[in-house]
């Protein structure tokens, strides 16, 4: 709770995972903030895609296991841990590599943080997957809700482990302000995630007899919250999601896509087959989400950060505008069809009337 003497923005910030969209954009935002002196981006494999963005960021090519020396040498004040893999990538080692990165990577990072004397702030990316998925779940999760069942999906299990390690870290270093941000799935015009790719298809598989309630957070709002977490003091765990809810069927219709319901056992099997054949990045995480849905309470975020992300519906609209390519039916078409039917009924009636 009491950061090492001074309050406000930290001087030196390390951001992990700058080879990915989220990390690169967070690092760029922090570098543009004049209150922060140095931003150091860490990633084992630099991604040329974000080179322009990361102009003001000192990039270090480093694995998380050799981070310990760096944190002490550079007198780092804050660490932002974003290097998480959300879905297994068959081209980069699949689930084993994902687990290695998520769990071992976080353990190594936290071990390094524990030994960094100057460190006073730690921001960890988590996910609303931390709430698991069960039929007995309450409709809305607050930060205090404990998961009733361990999720089947790899990412959900990783998130539970990561949060457990952060809890341990908090106990050992009570002087460090630890912020855990449980993000709803990212969406927006520029985000590229498993879920945005899913909604970008013209025909979208769903689970038969299930219409889960979904929440998204706009990627720009996620960046804003991460930025504030570094620049301000917000110890604790926060749900980060756009207020409001879209049901899956509603989201698919708003996007003008066509839903194809699949029986649940079939879908789980199909996911397993697709994964073993090495294509498709949907996992049991997605199946669970599409059976149970997930809605979180964001009042703590709004209260403590004084910031309300744009609503789930608005964030989704922004995504639709950017991905209008695969639209099957548009609103305008539906409105015209409605007018056509009404008009033809009127015409039939008037011709019937004119005939004596």
């Amino acid at each position: 709770m009491t950061p090492g003497g001074t309050s406000g923005a930290p001087g030196v910030v390390v951001v992990t995972g700058v080879g990915r969209y989220l990390g690169a954009h967070v690092a760029a935002r922090l570098a543009a903030d004049s209150r922060i002196d140095r931003v150091i981006g860490v990633d084992p494999a630099p991604n040329p895609e974000f080179a322009d963005l990361l102009d003001g960021v000192e990039r270090i090519r480093l694995d998380l296991d050799s981070l310990g020396g760096l944190l002490a040498d550079l007198e780092v004040d804050a660490v932002v841990h974003l290097a998480l893999v959300t879905a297994p990538d068959p081209q980069h080692g699949g689930r084993a590599a994902m687990k290695e990165q998520n769990i071992i990577g976080t353990m190594q990072l936290l071990a390094a943080c524990q030994r960094a004397p100057r460190l006073r702030k730690l921001v960890v990316r988590s996910s609303t997957a931390a709430y698991g998925a069960s039929f007995r779940d309450p409709a809305v999760f607050t930060e205090e809700t404990e998961p009733r069942e361990v999720p089947r999906g790899g990412f959900g299990r990783d998130i539970l482990d990561i949060e457990g390690y952060v809890r341990g870290f908090r106990r050992r270093r009570p002087d460090v302000t630890a912020t855990v941000l449980r993000f709803a799935p990212f969406i927006g015009s520029t985000a590229d995630t498993t879920l945005t790719r899913y909604f970008a298809q013209p025909v979208v598989p769903t689970v038969f007899g299930r219409d889960p309630r979904l929440q998204f957070v706009h990627i720009d709002d996620a960046l804003e919250v991460l930025h504030r977490s570094v620049a301000e003091e917000h110890p604790g765990t926060y749900n980060v999601a756009g207020p409001g809810v879209l049901s899956l069927s509603q989201a698919i219709r708003r996007a003008g896509r066509v839903a194809v319901p699949v029986l649940e056992p079939g879908l789980s099997g199909a996911v397993a087959i697709a994964r073993s054949l090495g294509f498709g990045r949907y996992g049991l995480d997605q199946v669970d989400l599409f059976v149970h849905g997930r809605v979180v309470d964001t009042s703590r975020l709004e209260r403590e950060y004084g910031f309300t992300p744009r609503s789930t519906a608005a964030a989704f609209d922004d995504f639709i505008r950017a991905h209008h390519g695969g639209v099957v039916v548009t609103r305008a078409q539906l409105a015209t069809a409605e007018q056509l039917v009404l008009e033809s009924i009127r015409q039939v009636r008037s011709t019937l009337r004119e005939r004596p």
Binding site: F135, A139, T142, R213, R253, V329, L334, A337, E338, R353
Partner: protein, 358 residues
């Protein structure tokens, strides 16, 4: 949100607004109005709403109306009526297909509930069960309320009938947010219908959240013990569990409105319960009724019993807010609710000597 502030006022004056038990409103019943069509969404206590329908269509289509009147005066404004129905249906379809509607955080979809589920239930409770509702004035007009009822009928139709009847008869057309067993939410399709009509899983976080938002929440504390009892035990209230509903009401200071439902027990009279089959199918019971499973799908048709629903005066809980964790207070209050429902059931049964009467 601002639910806590909004609730403050009405919560305290709920007991004060209670009129005598024989207050006049909401006694007239829809089934006595043969003119009302099944799909007519007009509230039943206001006979003039159906009267203003043709009146409204008059000025709209005055010219065409005159043209129609000449060939067939007997059906003067019927085409306009149907015109508007078709237009309304098409607009609804367009709204649904483009996703242009709102769903709340529990998945409640008022648009779909009003347009599809309530009209269906209206046929069931008004025309099939000839339901008579009394005491609607005991249900608060604004703010939270916890409606606690007796459960019955092998298939929990009573919850659906209660929510549709309350919505139609209540002056503020309030929606009843039902709390269901997790078995309901385990089943595909059924779970989504439950959510879209405003239901959610019966657990204290959800109950307290709904009450905190100032919603009207419906619970059946007997659960499966009530729905799955034999016909021989009809109208005998079962155990009320741990009284979780009382704790939720106390924690939010919500008045409890007991409601007695008569008629639900006769729709599927359960003569026996085949327990091994129930265990095999992972169901709480496997019913044998005079028609099920003998007649197959025909056995699913509920028997047309006569229904009476009576809302009892609310029990205020605002002064007991600190006792939500006191088991003595909770059990006493649960007993009080239980007794009220049981006595009202006996009273209603005397008023209805023939279960299948008019």
């Amino acid at each position: 949100m601002s639910g806590a502030e909004e609730r403050g006022g009405p919560r305290y004056d709920v007991p004060l607004t209670v009129p005598g038990p024989d207050g006049e409103p909401a006694r007239r019943n829809g089934h006595r109005r043969p003119t009302a069509t099944a799909a007519d969404p007009a509230p039943l206590e206001e006979p003039d709403t159906s009267a203003d329908e043709p009146a409204a269509s008059g000025p709209d289509d005055g010219a065409t109306g005159g043209a129609v009147a000449a060939p067939g005066p007997a059906v003067a404004d019927r085409p306009d009526h149907w015109d508007r129905k078709v237009a309304k249906g098409l607009a609804f379809l367009r709204r649904r297909l483009s996703g242009d509607y709102e769903v709340d955080e529990f998945g409640f979809d008022p648009d779909l509930t009003d347009a599809v589920f309530h009209p269906l239930l209206r046929v069931l409770y008004r025309d099939w069960f000839r339901t008579e509702v009394s005491g609607v004035e005991h249900v608060p007009d604004t703010g939270a309320g916890l409606v606690v009822g007796n459960h019955s009928g092998t298939v929990a139709l009573d919850a659906l009938v209660l929510s549709a009847a309350l919505h139609d008869r209540h002056p503020m057309r309030r929606y009843l947010r039902l709390l269901g067993a997790d078995l309901v939410f385990r089943m595909p399709v059924v779970s989504e219908i439950a959510r879209k009509t405003g239901g959610t899983v019966a657990c204290s976080p959800d109950a307290e959240r709904l009450l905190g938002n100032g919603e009207l929440v419906g619970v059946f504390p007997e659960g499966f013990k009530g729905v799955g009892k034999l016909y021989a035990d009809r109208y005998k209230l079962q155990r009320f569990g741990r009284g979780g509903f009382v704790s939720a009401a106390l924690r939010t200071g919500t008045p409890i409105v007991p409601v007695a439902i008569v008629g639900g027990e006769e729709i599927y009279p359960m003569l026996a319960d085949i327990k091994p089959l129930a265990r095999l199918l992972k169901l709480p019971y496997f019913p044998v009724t005079p028609t099920f499973p003998w007649l197959g799908p025909l056995g699913m048709v509920p028997l047309p019993s006569k229904w009476l629903i009576e809302f009892c005066p609310p029990i205020p809980t605002a002064h007991l807010r600190d006792s939500a964790d006191d088991p003595l207070v909770v059990f006493n209050l649960a007993d009080q609710v239980r007794e009220t429902i049981q006595q009202t059931l006996h009273k209603l049964l005397e008023r209805r000597p023939d279960p299948f009467g008019p």
